[in-house]
Amino acid sequence: MDKPELEATLRGFVGRETGPPVEGPDPVNEVMIRHWCEAMGDANPVYTDRDAAAASVHGGLVAPPTMLQAWSMRGLAMADLRQQQDETHSDQQLALHELLTQAGFPSVVATNSEQGYTRYLRPGDRVISHTVVEAISGEKATALGIGYFLDTRTIFRDPAGDELGWMTFRVLKFKPHAQPAAAAPDPAAAPAKPRRLRPPLGHDNQWWWDGIAAGELRIQRCRDCGTLRHPPRPMCGRCQSIAWDWVVSRGAGAIHSYVVLHHPPVPGYEVPLPVVLVDLDEGTRLVANLAGRKPAEIRIGMRVQARIEAMDEEMKLPVFHPAESGS
């Protein structure tokens, strides 16, 4: 399945329910509540101490509201791949994940959760969840790898149909970087140094990154009118031609504008990080990091020279340096 086909299929899931409403396997119960409170280190007596709970604003034991999703989790079946595949026929969420796995995005992490608590749950309550796929992003580059964000919305109800709470949930289904940070030789050591974001590669920009790998800073050129453009894209903005080739830039230019990133911190990047927009001498602009100058020393118009440098063992990028004096 190519990318346009994949993305069209993904869009077909948006607005669909993941399946019929599902009743949690266990009613809200004191045992699971106690296990949760142990794991979270939560000593709030309204969850586990009957007398204190009776005297509280709740008038009796309640479940921690943040347990909402736990009541409808699938448990050990989540670790059984064969069972997962059997269930992809009935569960659209599993089918969606399987589609992305087949397309080369096997890994998954949750990135966002928002829960609203209509009322606190009490022992004996039954929880029925009903989930709809709310949105699916385009392909995104993230710190973990390239992938797609999947948004779902779940309503939790009791058997009478009254709302107990709701949740919006976002996961990233992604292709992990080739060499896991896992290969850290000493497992007791601090977490491995995170690496920079990887670009999404496709038909339109692979040639540019191939150039970087070969030590060349390439600039796309319209074959009809000769206009240079960057970043790479299929069509000339001046004459709408889709015929193009490239020239190799010398990497020399002048700072047109810049920002210094302080916040938010992103794994793999050290702040403060100067990011410059440079007018290349060939006649287009390039965004890259600037090395060799403190943020306070950066000036608009300053002459700079790009060098292609290794960011880590896999990735190279152009980095601007102050030009040698006299240029």
């Binding site: 699971m32 296990h35 949760w36 142990e38 794991a39 979270m40 280190g41 939560d42 000593a43 709030n44 007596p45 309204v46 204190a52 509280s56 604003v57 921690p64 509201p65 943040t66 347990m67 999703q69 736990a70 989790m73 699938r74 448990g75 050990l76 079946a77 989540m78 670790a79 096997p106 890994s107 998954v108 992490v109 949750a110 990135t111 966002n112 959760s113 928002e114 829960q115 609203g116 608590y117 606190y120 973990l144 790898g145 992990p176 970087h177 896991p180 940070a181 896992a182 850290a184 497992p187 007791a188 050591a189 601090a190 977490p191 491995a192 995170p194 938010p264 911190p265 992103v266 794994p267």
Partner: protein, 154 residues
């Protein structure tokens, strides 16, 4: 993540006694394999990356990492530890960044961002930072009882 870190809230903060800008006390939670697995199983999340190191490594992580349900539970606990047992949570919204991996420590901090006088609601902004940066950022909306009694809290 450990019983040593437990704290028992005894009294509940009154809505009138809380001011915008108030800081919650910092809570430092050591992240351990045991704590990650305990949280994953207590939340019924058996996704292998939260208990099986080889599965986590196949996904590009150094080790098993904390699941979002545990993060959510810790955020709820952090706020009610401060607010007290008669506080009622209305909404918890979190965004995850750097994963919580064994050997790290997550420091939770929080600040009161706003107060809704009519609803007796308070919004607390929280962040949980580890060695890589923010593991979690988010907001918690909760109802606090009135100074005169429990009247405004329900």
């Amino acid at each position: 993540m450990t019983s040593a870190a437990r704290s028992a809230p005894l009294t509940t903060r009154r809505f009138e006694a809380v001011a915008v800008g108030d800081a919650l006390p910092e809570l430092a939670l050591p992240i351990t394999v045991t704590g990650i697995v305990a949280g994953a199983l207590a939340s019924r999340d058996f996704t292998p990356v939260h208990h099986d190191k080889a599965a986590a490594q196949a996904q590009g992580m150094a080790d098993v990492f904390m699941n979002i349900l545990t993060t959510n539970g810790l955020v709820g606990r952090y706020v009610t530890d401060w607010a007290g047992p008669d506080a009622v949570l209305r909404n918890v919204a979190i965004k995850l960044g750097a994963p919580n991996l064994p050997g790290d420590t997550m420091k939770l901090v929080g600040t009161v961002k706003s107060k809704d006088e009519a609803a007796h609601e308070v919004v607390v902004e929280i962040a949980g930072k580890n060695a890589w940066g923010n593991h979690v950022t988010g907001t918690v909306r909760l109802v606090l009882p009135a100074a005169s009694g429990a009247g405004g809290a329900r």
